[in-house]
Amino acid sequence: MNLALWLMLQAAFTTPADAFRQAEAIYQQERYGEAIEIYESIRANGVEDGVLYYNLGNAYFKSGQLGFAILSYERALKLLPGDEDVRANLTFAGTLVSGGLEPPPLPLAIGWGVDLYQRTGSGLLAQVLSLSFLIGGSAVTLLLLDRWPSLRTAALVVLAGSGVVALLAGASLVAKVRAESNRIEAVVVTENAYVRSGPGESSPRLAEIHEGLKLRILGEREGFLQVSLANGLTGWVPREQVERI
């Protein structure tokens, strides 16, 4: 009670940098529960921040709550898709998930593309897209004016290049924004959960999954989420046992 009040006062009267320092000091004293409270109180003020989620994930990890740790890392990664620390901790935490499923390996070139897609944030994609529009637009202007015939070929090449880039960036951006707004991924936050063949406790169990496993949400019905696992298995899990990323 006192702690909660104190934390509220802290959150109200200090800058985020101070609160972070405070939490870090507490974290180093291995009082992870209190560190979680500080980070969660900052988050409760409506702050969505990648670094905040990262630190929160660390505190959850150290306190042994693997599911919430992975959830926080996944949320951090959405905001900081290119961050190596987030990626490293998520990978490390992922190795501790019981029965973690590896998606089937992709061909190298596609895998590389997927990796690039995952590491690139929607902000960067939007910037690339707008930049390619500006460059392509300038090339079109050059062609329209038709003042310098020697630049014609160069302008055409630039236009084609920026067109390809804009197409890729635009398609990726649309996919990303749709995925982000739909929140189609979730993490198991209870120690164990059963994937059932239908929405209901009476449906037969298809698989037992463990804390920290990442799922893809396909639909929702009667307090159950239809999910698919990385290995392709599809089933239903109770909504309260998973948390949307």
Partner: protein, 606 residues
């Protein structure tokens, strides 16, 4: 004002008291032996000292203990208090010394005692007779009718002796030093008042044994009870004549008598202070003959052992090699035998264990070193041998213990193949991964939540997308309009050509009435302009011959073309010939031109 008066009164009162203050220093004896204890008493009567008395620097004495006592006297109806500070001083050397003066601040005035001369002679002079103190817990005392005999402690019968296991030793050889308290009585509450540091020795304290009791010993025909007060194991660190300074103890004794009541009311005597005699030990340096490079200062009796945890091991798996040295002597300073070069192994720094305990027979125990070895190639490997040399003070010679070599069978693939760099390359050490952990916390970003609003949600993004389309579209419109205007002006001019020509001819008709020669210029201009407008050409670039070409291009018939040239020729002619022309001529030329233009207009094709 009142406060000041009060303070003055207080000052006067304290000054009056200060006049009666007496500070005195006394000693129990002015001539004492170096083994005796000098008791210095500083008593203050008639006032309270501000703090404790400050003793002057005493080079010849050590202060062993300090105690205080207070007494209140009422003499002739006047109350006075006496406070005494009693110091037990231990003489450090013989000779005549002066103690004091002692300075003491009482009630703001500094009082000085008169110095005391004390002579310290060898041996002991004072018969240590304790004052018989009454037992406050004895209810029968003072009942008058029955006074029990007070057993008297003869202080001469109480002494402490420092006994050593040997008086001559080698450097590093252990000597057991025991302080025995001799008395006819059972001591209670033995306290060490003064225990000067032992210089020239490494000291291991022997933990007191609670089960150890006193011994009965007879000295010079007198029976004594002897109690070990303190026991130490000494290792001389330098050679020569080393002195063990005296220890000072204070102890009380349990008094017993034949009275059966004593069984219930055990009585303790008042404390007696006793001092041991200094002991000198002659330390010989270790001989140099017989000493080898394997000697690292171990003195005593030792045994060397070596063993490996497994005799068969897979390449790459760790094996523990344990070397141990067990025995009596200066184990604490024993270093491990030199590890010979291990070919085909990676070796890590050893883990040292020591289980040595100081006891009545000296320091005894075992010291061991655990090396982790990782064989890098397969085959039968040998480790060792090891040699350890120590000096045996009993035998007075150096002894070399040796062990090994040990054999080990390494199976499996060689994991670290020869590097091809030659034999003298130090074994490669891999990075030892101790544990895996997550990466540490990050500091707060300058703006919290800055990245949550992505660029694609900002107006700049939409601006950047729309801007090139807008500007290119605008450019396109502009270009289109320009093009249109260009074509428009052609049609316009062509359509207007006839009207413009007629307007000029009307103007020419005016010039006819004025009889001006400008009439011909106007006619020529009308014709030139007409063709220029019709063919969307610039009028300034036209000549009569290029007009003929243009007319032909636009399928104007031959006779009209000739007529055109004719009219233009007439105009030229008039311009360059002087003299006026008749109005009729002008008028007919005007009409001809008018008809010509109408005819050309009719025939002109695009």
């Amino acid at each position: 004002m009142v406060a000041r008066t009060l303070i003055c009164t207080l000052l006067a009162a304290s000054a009056a008291m200060a006049q009666d203050v007496r500070v005195e220093a006394t000693v129990n004896a002015e001539r004492i032996g170096v083994e005796d204890v000098l008791e210095l008493t500083i008593s203050i009567s008639g006032g309270d000292a501000d703090g404790e008395p400050e003793l002057p620097r005493l080079d010849a004495f050590r202060v062993a203990s300090r105690s205080t006592s207070s007494q209140i006297q009422i003499v002739n109806g006047r109350m006075s208090s006496i406070r005494s500070y009693i110091y037990q001083l231990l003489p450090q050397k013989e000779g005549a010394f002066e103690i004091g003066p002692v300075e003491l601040d009482v009630g703001g005035t500094v009082h000085r005692t008169s110095p005391i001369r004390v002579e310290v002679v060898p041996g002991s002079l004072i018969a240590r007779r304790p004052r018989g103190l009454s037992n406050p817990f004895d209810p029968f005392e003072g009942l008058g009718g029955r006074r029990r005999p007070e057993p008297e402690i003869d202080a001469d019968d109480v002494f402490v002796r420092a006994e050593v296991s040997k008086r001559s030793a080698f450097q590093g050889e252990q000597i057991v030093l025991t302080y025995w308290l001799y008395s006819p009585y059972v001591p209670v509450g033995v306290q060490v008042d003064d225990d000067p540091p032992l210089t020239g020795f490494w000291v291991e304290e022997v933990a007191p044994d609670p089960n150890r009791s006193g011994e009965r010993r007879t000295i010079e025909g007198k029976p004594y009870l002897a109690f070990p007060v303190k026991e130490r194991v000494l290792f001389p660190t330098s050679s020569g004549s080393l002195s063990i300074p005296p220890i000072t103890l204070s102890t009380a004794f349990r008094l017993t008598s034949g009275d059966p009541f004593d069984a219930f009311f055990a009585r303790a005597s008042s404390p007696v202070v006793v001092r041991s005699q200094p002991v000198t030990i002659v330390v010989a340096p270790l001989p140099s003959s017989g000493r080898s490079a394997d000697f690292h200062g171990a003195v005593g009796q030792f045994e060397l052992q070596a063993k490996v945890s497994q005799e068969e091991v897979a390449a790459g798996d760790p094996v523990t090699l344990t070397l141990s040295i067990a025995g009596k002597g200066n184990l604490r300073s024993v270093t491990p035998p030199d590890l010979p070069e291990l070919k085909g192994f990676r070796a890590f720094d050893p883990n040292t264990k020591e289980t040595a305990r100081a006891g009545s027979s000296g320091l005894e125990g075992e010291k061991s070193w655990e090396y982790v070895l990782v064989p890098e190639s397969s085959g039968v490997k040998e480790v060792g041998p090891w040699r350890f040399q120590y000096f045996d003070p009993e035998e007075k010679k150096y002894v070399t213990a040796s062990v090994g070599p040990l054999q080990m069978k390494v199976v499996g693939d060689a994991i670290a193949a020869s590097s091809g760099l030659g034999g003298n390359v130090a074994p490669r050490r891999d990075v030892t991964l101790l544990r895996e952990d997550i990466r540490f916390l990050k500091p707060a970003p300058p703006r919290l939540g800055a990245e949550s609003r992505s660029f694609h949600e900002s107006p700049w993004f939409y601006g950047a997308l729309v801007l090139p389309i807008v500007w290119n579209f605008a450019l396109l419109l502009y270009l289109k309009k320009q093009e249109k205007e260009k074509t428009h002006s052609h049609l316009f001019r062509s359509r207007r050509a006839h009207r413009m020509a007629r307007a000029r001819l009307k103007k020419a008709a005016k010039l006819v009435s004025e009889g001006s020669k400008d009439f011909y210029d106007e006619i020529a201009a009308a014709l030139y302009r007409y063709v220029a407008d019709k063919s969307a050409a610039s009028p300034s670039g036209l000549t009569s011959s290029s007009i003929a070409v243009l007319l032909a291009e636009h399928s104007v018939p031959e006779e009209l073309r000739r007529e055109f040239q004719d009219v233009l020729g007439t105009c030229e002619e008039v311009r360059f010939t002087p003299g006026a022309r008749s109005r009729e001529d002008m008028d007919s030329l005007r009409r001809r031109t008018e008809e010509l233009i109408v005819a050309v207009e009719r025939h002109w094709t695009k």
